[in-house]
């Protein structure tokens, strides 16, 4: 179960919420989308992805619906709720604050 690059703790939720804010997707789709958007740097294993999805579903940030895929198979599609959108905003702001702070520290050499 080797991972190429581990996600920073706590960032998976943010990334998944960001991906789902654009469109409803199933688990596989989310993983693919993450790979694509991060230019293959970030990968998420199902063992982390599904617990995160189910946790966010339980928190009410995302909701799920069984729908047919493009190939006509049944899959569980996740989409953002109002609450999820708000969490995404908060987390995004937090992340930006945090990453710029890290940046400042690194740049003050």
């Amino acid at each position: 179960m080797g991972r190429k690059d581990d996600l920073l703790p706590g960032t998976l939720d943010l990334l998944v919420l960001r991906i789902l804010s654009a469109q409803a997707l199933h688990g596989w789709g989310i993983a693919q989308r993450l790979k694509l958007l991060s230019r293959e740097v970030l990968q998420v294993n199902q063992g982390s992805l599904y617990p995160a999805l189910h946790k966010m579903e339980a928190e009410g940030w995302i909701e799920a619906e069984w729908k047919p895929t493009d190939e006509g198979r049944q899959a569980k599609f996740y989409s953002l709720t109002r609450k999820g959108r708000k969490v995404l905003g908060d987390q995004r702001a937090r992340w930006e604050r945090l990453s710029s702070a890290v940046g400042w520290v690194l740049e003050t050499e």
Binding site: H26, N45, G47, A58, W66, K76
Partner: protein
């Protein structure tokens, strides 16, 4: 949580994960891998499905509950799979918890479930240093309005002849101050309670009104006869209230002012020094009972000083006694049981506590062993990614299930046993009928005890089980020497505790046996006792004497009649084995300054000694010469003679039985008889006694006891009928009460000892049984686990005896150590048990030896089958197992 939903979620989860896997495979195929490799690669990349599922399940509370339901089902299945283990575990828990809950029910009923009064914890007795809690009326009036109390009440329990229209009964009642009900906070059920200024009125207890007056609603306002005088019933007290003393059923409550009518022949309301009246008060919040008690003592001393100084007739010892008496405020709820019964009950609480500990240790040992046996399964679960917590939870659930089952069974057991115990052993007094049916408090107690057992002896083995060496466990090396070492230590402790319980039970049983077979110094077989109190029917002294003589004469005639059932009869003012006695002064003529002899005083018919089989030592017995008007003659007991006249010249000396009435009570000693224990076999220090003819001096106008010896045991019923008929023919209005045999009286007196002997024996046998089960389990496991070792040893030429010792030696050594430790503990505990026993010998060797022998037998029984198995190991078969 509905099951189909759980199933649906699980399936959906599966579908979701499968879809993900399928996509991975698709991708690999698209990349040009052959199908086999594509699938394999995808699986590897996909990782562990089950741990994801488990992580997902634990995410939501609902799912967590689901997983618990799964675990419970799993635990039930596992318990069902080993029925012997389950049965033994539940049974030992049920017995341990049942015993505890039964005893707690008794404690609850006698100590915690209090009198039906308001805020009982605020009520305090005025306990006095001598004779329990007795003061007098003038002192009561002196302190009744003390501002530290929300009221002080006084009460005097006594017996009266009461009833309506010819249906008279002897009933218990209380003479009380008019604020009695108000201080206690008791409400009327009908009518009203007592008020200031009340005189010839009575309040009935609800029980008496229902039982003896047929719950007649018109009774309020009507008259009731008490001791031949009419009293107006003003009301009925609230249901459940039957007086201030738990265990006594008082029928009537009458104002204190009516004392002359209630206790004819003795008023005493104006006497400032005598001790007879009980006082109790409701302490205001914040008052300190300790310092207030000391202050009340000072006030008592200041109050009585002028009266003591003014009374020249007081003897030196009386003065001393009055001057040194003190008051202590004692919570009403603490006075429900007498100290001796309380001590016995406390011992039982310890015994059942030890028993429960044993049961828990057994359960712990069983679970520990089970943990070892299931190590392979647990190791496998841990290896495939089961969470440690989940495994512990699983194991803990198992013990929780056992605890629930054991607790429920124990509670049901106690619900059956406790009321039986309460009915069989009236702990709070002869008339006590308390309700020991388990209530919410008992249920809560059982729950806490059962949960405590689970936590202490379920959780530890559960943790221990998860700390397994995965690799060796899976390989099947079922070695767990550490667990077995703990098991042996527990076994040793079990054996020690069982030994202590067995030895204690032996002590209590031998104590009871001694009490029952103790030579009382008089002939107690076929002895029938019946009491009458003609003074309550208005008999004056001369009429009483005429009645007693008539009874004597009639019964003497009946003794000749073979159909009467009576062989012989006598009269005395105190019944043997009643716990009651009168004291007499003993002021020897010529030695008036010595006033420290206070023997028991008895007024008897002149044939009493012959009747009781008491042997003459010196001089003569009382006889027909010693009638009313003749020179007063007395017989004294041997120990009194020895103490008062060490030179042995008692006969012919004179003494006064009451210095206040020197002329009426000056007796000449005509004889000395052997000592007899007439009062209480537990108290051997009451041998000093004075016997006088009742015709010459009666000590008190109260009861007279008719004693009759039945011709044989089967004639006791007929003899009782003869007594009843004789009295009825003399005066149909006289009540003959408390007809019983001395055997029954002794039985009744020793009920607490009997209960403790019975229960401690039963509990000790259980304890030995539990220890044997524990030993059996431990040995069986050791033998099973080391069969290979035994086989190898046998194959290498070891003798069977050596192999047997190799397998069982350490365990048996633990048993021996346990026995040794138990003996030491038993000796150490002697000072605790001694106050409960009549013969205070330091160590009862017989009880201890019996206990050791019983325990060794139990150990042999427990060790027999495993040991047999160990010696029957067939090397070839055992070694082929690998």
């Amino acid at each position: 949580m509905r099951l189909w939903r759980r199933k649906a979620t699980d399936e959906q989860l599966d579908a979701e994960l499968q879809e993900h896997l399928r996509q991975l495979i698709q991708e690999n195929l698209a990349a040009g891998m052959p199908p086999e490799e594509a699938r394999r690669e995808a699986r590897l990349a996909f990782g562990h499905v089950e741990s994801t599922k488990e992580a997902l399940r634990d995410l939501q509370p609902a799912r967590w509950l689901q997983s618990i339901a799964t675990d419970v089902r799993y635990a039930l299945r596992k318990l069902r799979a080993s029925p012997v283990f389950t049965a033994v575990a539940i049974l030992s828990l049920a017995l341990g918890i049942g015993a505890n809950t039964s005893i707690f029910s008794l404690v609850n009923a006698t100590l915690l479930r209090l009198l039906p009064v308001e805020r009982p914890q605020e009520l305090y007795w005025f306990a006095t240093s001598n004779f329990g809690r007795v003061l007098n009326y003038p002192f009561y009036r002196h302190i009744a309005s003390d501002p530290r109390f929300d009221g002080v009440l006084c009460t005097f329990p006594t017996f009266v002849n009461a009833g309506r229209a010819g249906a008279m009964h002897r009933v218990e009642m209380e003479l009380v101050s008019e604020n009695y009900f108000q201080v206690l906070g008791v409400r009327p059920h009908k009518g009203r309670l007592l008020m200031p200024g009340d005189e010839a009125v009575a309040v009935l207890s609800h029980g008496y009104w229902q039982g003896q007056l047929g719950a007649d609603p018109r009774v309020v306002g009507q008259a009731i006869t008490i001791n031949n005088r009419g009293f107006t019933v003003v009301g009925i007290a609230q249901p459940g209230f039957q007086g201030i003393d738990q265990g006594w059923r008082r029928a009537l409550f009458v104002p204190m002012q009516m004392k002359p009518q209630i206790t004819p022949g003795w008023n005493g309301l104006d006497k400032p020094l005598i001790a007879w009246l009980q006082l109790a008060g409701r302490l205001k919040p914040g008052a300190d009972a300790g310092s207030l008690g000391r202050e009340l003592t000072e006030r008592l001393h200041a109050f009585q000083k002028p009266f003591v100084d003014a009374d020249p007739r007081l003897t030196q010892s009386q003065r001393q006694m009055i001057r040194t008496r003190s008051i202590r405020l004692e919570q009403l709820q603490d006075g429900v049981l007498d100290t001796r019964v309380r001590l016995h009950l406390k011992t039982l609480v310890w015994i059942v506590g030890a028993l429960l500990l044993l049961a828990c240790v057994n359960l712990g040992g069983l679970l520990l062993a089970r943990g070892v046996e299931h190590q392979r399964e647990i190791a496998t679960r841990l290896a495939i990614g089961g969470s440690q917590l989940r495994v512990v939870r699983q194991l803990f659930l198992e013990s929780l299930l056992l605890g629930t089952a054991g607790g429920t069974a124990g509670f049901l057991l106690a619900a059956g046993i406790a009321p039986w115990l309460a009915a069989r052993f009236p702990l709070a007094g002869p008339g006590s009928q308390f309700d020991a049916t388990p209530d919410a408090r008992v249920l809560a107690y059982t729950t806490i005890v059962a949960l405590g057992c689970c936590v202490f002896f379920g959780l530890a083995p559960a943790w221990q089980s998860t700390r397994v060496d995965l690799i060796s466990s899976i390989r099947g090396a079922a070695h767990a020497p550490a667990a077995r070492r703990v098991g042996r230590m527990l076994l040793g402790a079990q054996v020690a505790v069982a030994l202590v319980l067995l030895a204690a039970a032996g002590l209590f049983s031998r104590n009871l046996h001694r009490l029952l077979h103790y030579d009382l110094g008089f002939r107690s077989e076929n002895l029938l006792l019946a009491e009458l109190e003609p003074v309550l029917n208005g008999y004056d002294e001369s009429r009483r004497l005429r009645l007693y003589r008539a009874i004597e004469a009639r019964l003497a005639e009946e003794a000749v009649n073979p159909r009467s059932g009576i062989a012989q009869s006598a009269l005395a003012n105190v019944a043997p084995v009643s716990g009651y006695y009168w004291t007499s002064a003993f002021v020897i003529e010529g030695r008036e300054r010595e006033k420290d002899l206070i023997p028991r005083g008895m007024a008897v018919s002149t044939n009493y000694f012959d009747f009781m089989g008491m042997r003459l030592r010196q001089g003569r017995l009382l006889d027909a010469r010693d009638r009313a008007g003749a020179p007063r003659a007395a017989v004294i007991s041997e120990s009194l003679a020895r103490k008062a006249f060490p030179e042995g010249n008692a006969v012919g000396r004179r003494f006064m039985a009451d210095p206040r009435e020197p002329e009426k009570t000056r007796f000449e000693i005509v004889g000395v008889v052997a000592d007899a224990n007439l009062y209480d076999p537990r108290n051997r220090n009451l041998g000093e006694a004075v016997y006088v003819p009742y015709m010459q001096w009666a000590f008190s106008p109260q009861a007279m006891v008719i004693q009759a010896r039945a011709t044989r045991p089967e004639a006791i019923g007929r003899a009782a009928e003869t007594l009843r008929r004789t009295v009825r023919e003399l005066d149909p209005n006289l009540a003959l009460y408390d007809i019983r045999t001395t055997e029954a009286a002794l039985d009744n007196m020793l009920r607490t000892e009997r209960m403790v002997a019975l229960l401690s024996s039963a509990f000790a046998v259980l304890a030995a049984l539990l220890a044997a089960i524990g030993l059996h389990g431990l040995l069986a496991r050791e033998v099973a686990a080391r069969t290979r070792e035994a086989a190898i040893r046998l194959a290498l030429g070891a003798s069977r005896g050596a192999v047997l010792w190799a397998l069982t030696g350490r365990t048996l050594r633990a048993v021996a150590l346990g026995i040794g430790f138990g003996v030491v503990m038993n000796v150490a505990l002697q000072p605790v048990l001694r106050p409960l026993l009549v013969d205070r010998s330091p160590v009862d060797g017989v009880a201890l030896a019996t206990a050791v022998v019983l325990l060794v037998i139990a150990a042999i029984l427990g060790a027999w089958w495993p040991a047999r198995r160990a010696t029957r190991v067939d090397p070839a078969t055992a070694l082929r197992g690998d």
